[in-house]
Symmetry: C2
Subunit: 562 residues, 2 copies
Amino acid sequence: MKVVIIGGVAAGPKAASKIMRMRPDAEVTIVEKGIFLSYAGCGLPYYISGDVRERNHLMETPAGVVRDAVFFQKVKNLKVLNGTEAVEIDRAGKRVRVKTLASGAESWLPYDNLVLATGAEPVIPPIPGVDRKNVFTLHGVHDAEGIKAVIAERRAEDVVIIGGGLIGVETTEALAAHACRVTVVEMLPQILGILDWEIARLVELHMESKGVKVMTGTKALAIESRDGAGGAVTHVRTDKGELPADMVILAIGVRPNVALARAAGLAIGETTRAIKVDDRMRTSDPAIYAAGDCVECIDRVTGRSCFVPLGSTANKQGRTAAVNICGGDEAFPGVLGSAVCKVFDFCVARTGLTERAARALGMEVVTAMAPGPDKAHYMPQSKPLLMKLVADAKTGRLLGVQATGPGDGAKRIDVAAAAITAGMTVDDVANLDLSYAPPYAPAMDNLITAANVARNKRAGLMIGVSAQDVKAKLDRGDDFVFLDVRSPKEYAQVRLPKSVLIPLGALRGRLAELPRDKEIIAFCQVSLRGYEAALILRAAGFKDVKVMDGGVAMWPYEKERA
Amino acid sequence: MKVVIIGGVAAGPKAASKIMRMRPDAEVTIVEKGIFLSYAGCGLPYYISGDVRERNHLMETPAGVVRDAVFFQKVKNLKVLNGTEAVEIDRAGKRVRVKTLASGAESWLPYDNLVLATGAEPVIPPIPGVDRKNVFTLHGVHDAEGIKAVIAERRAEDVVIIGGGLIGVETTEALAAHACRVTVVEMLPQILGILDWEIARLVELHMESKGVKVMTGTKALAIESRDGAGGAVTHVRTDKGELPADMVILAIGVRPNVALARAAGLAIGETTRAIKVDDRMRTSDPAIYAAGDCVECIDRVTGRSCFVPLGSTANKQGRTAAVNICGGDEAFPGVLGSAVCKVFDFCVARTGLTERAARALGMEVVTAMAPGPDKAHYMPQSKPLLMKLVADAKTGRLLGVQATGPGDGAKRIDVAAAAITAGMTVDDVANLDLSYAPPYAPAMDNLITAANVARNKRAGLMIGVSAQDVKAKLDRGDDFVFLDVRSPKEYAQVRLPKSVLIPLGALRGRLAELPRDKEIIAFCQVSLRGYEAALILRAAGFKDVKVMDGGVAMWPYEKERA
């Protein structure tokens, strides 16, 4: 059995290794255009920051062996042609034409099965100046080396990152570690489009607290130089003015590498522009498989096609392709868009559908905001975790969860990913037997609390109102009572605009102070006391009482501080 | 609606608060024998260690308000009778006789619904000397105060902990923080009976590396004093000799408080001796509910009764009881025995069935050992995580997972808990879309790797042999090749007894060195290279080749070190 694999990072080597394990008699050849194999692309920001001290660490096995062509040959019995480009697929002849980049020599490699693991490439924005000196993408090892070289020469005091997605945000922290002044320019109204606006806004506020300038709704128009046509970048022109820039990182996203597949007439996804595969990772040609960043996936919640290039998915897909090539029968069931990234002291994580995405699909949703300590609140290592849960309003089915803050969001997102995959409702989630001890979780885990908030809303016990809606009311000057039920001490430290204070413990005795004909919106730090307050008011006959979701902890605007 | 709740910690206050939220017109009275309400019993070891600096922190809300009777009255409109014992339930008359402990005054409290949240109490071993001075259990705040007082007077250099369960182990670390020399005496062949032997053994080795003496298979016979009959403890006599002891902690477990329920004729579980409830948390009397550490649960994997007292479960059960009392209809579906605890630098976590438990139930199981870094291996914050997965051999259904080591096991155990709850197979688990970024997880999450190992075993690609079986072979002097395929550098640092080294990369060229007529057991650090080695050997015609589960990383015996 002859197998040719095009692509030597992530999905390709994974498929190759798995094939050799299942069929040691197979002849497997990996064709890789670049020099480096199996490097950890996701680790590049940490190589820039210095957390990862040596480049080789990104290419080593956990045992410290560099995964080069010799390694693949000796350990895996795999033939690797790096520095070699696949230029044409002859489907009828079942062969691939390859070109050695150094010599220009060409040859044909015959295959019984072909695996396309051609990956993705950074999208370059269509603006002038993208090829100026000190303008980089962050895609390969060479990009990271270029960025590090500029930093090492202390020529990057001001850096502009164009694009506020995962890569842009991760790179921000890496550059801030070198004391660069970083500005993130994002065309959309928020960074991290994989989050709902108010969660992304909490991340923006955190980045700003670390000295990063975040400019959303801002369009980069040109990358310019005061040193003339061939000069290195000195500033970026945007629709909101000029930004000084000794270095620019283009991080507006990636697109799948499908030129080879397209030229060979393989089916390409209409919306994703990625290679179409079935759940066996087979393309429209049964002898050709594809895996990794070049393929489109199925969203397990919606059943729709999506493009979510991630190393974790690439590995699973590479394995699936290998098993099926070797005569097995395994399906890759799709993804949830689970993602996590570190942004200074915050963990940002998400899975499934955002509220925005669910509503765009016409779903009726219930949301729950659950800020709270990520461990027993009396433990010194406990940190705030800010969660948002989205569920189907009719069935209670969990659709998505987002988390941010210094607390351990990745854990809860992974549990949520399993729960969404299983089709669990918020009732199911609320009764999950999650492990509990004070150094690891509160007695009621944050995810369980979030599910309980959603249950209370579904049961009609709690009527929520979003911070955005409250802000709009405040801005309009609506006549309502914005009732803070925290303690006087908490109120003295930080408060929300136009709020009035009646501590929860005093509320029953001070009902006469509140108007019965006005809307009352109660809140506290996390809105548990706010919820209790609303119940007290409703029991006392107040008709129009709501609770502001997320309380002070998740208020995504400026707060008044003492 | 009148509700009486017996028990003022965890399940009781939870049920009471929830009832008041759903039915603000209800009259709810909590009867609590002790003085303290809603204190975090699980936090007591951390109060002893000093991590939690003030006792009140264990009784405060996250906002810093102490949950005393005034708090419950003012904030929750709940009546609390603390220092009051419930002494009799008159089911026919629907009333509870209570006694004020200070005055001895008695009265009857009528109820429409009664909730028993009477908790559990420490089991006192039937040996002489348990009531000597400086002998403690660790159950209530007063125990912790007593222990702290002895430490404060520097009278506890040598401490013996009788019982190596969760509480014993957590207390070990708390005492070691005060430089006590701690010996744990456990009657069974291992500590932490909720784990399989070899996982518990890894924890024991870690404790021993921290200076703790762990004596398994050891029976405490008497707690004695050289200072005569009324003297404080000076030593513990065991069947393996005398142990010096300035202080003794009795931590052999808890039993449910069911005297009141039993006297009232309510059904009690035969094996658990805990109060029987249906999934609505209703006892055999439809007007009486029970929740928390006094009730028996259903194991969601086996469907059998079990007794797993935990604060997390108590909160869920209290909520469920409250909803049903208020006319709702909610089920508590049971538990998985999920647990986590901190043992010095190790996180110890588990959920579902151990291999031992599954086999005892007559199940045919496949196990997978998956040691590996808990984050991308090139990240400086990555730490080793040692996992064991247990699945049904026929169906592949996930039955249980155990984790230990410095890495983040709690996260994977919680994901596993969700997966087991959903009835997922190892195929399902292997394709979970878990969040990935280098600071949080490896590209192939540890749980996914464990599932893949189990898949490889089920597919016949990998034949595993446990470290225990290998050790027995070595001890018997069986004639086999114990083949280490790590690097010479790794081998030089630490090696297993009687192992021979052929690095994986050299194996294909050195096949002639290996006998074809003998059993070969291959391994490496984590047994991924061991697996590759076995496949190479099988492909080369070697007939009897196995892989040692867990490799050097999970070898639960002494290792030879350079």
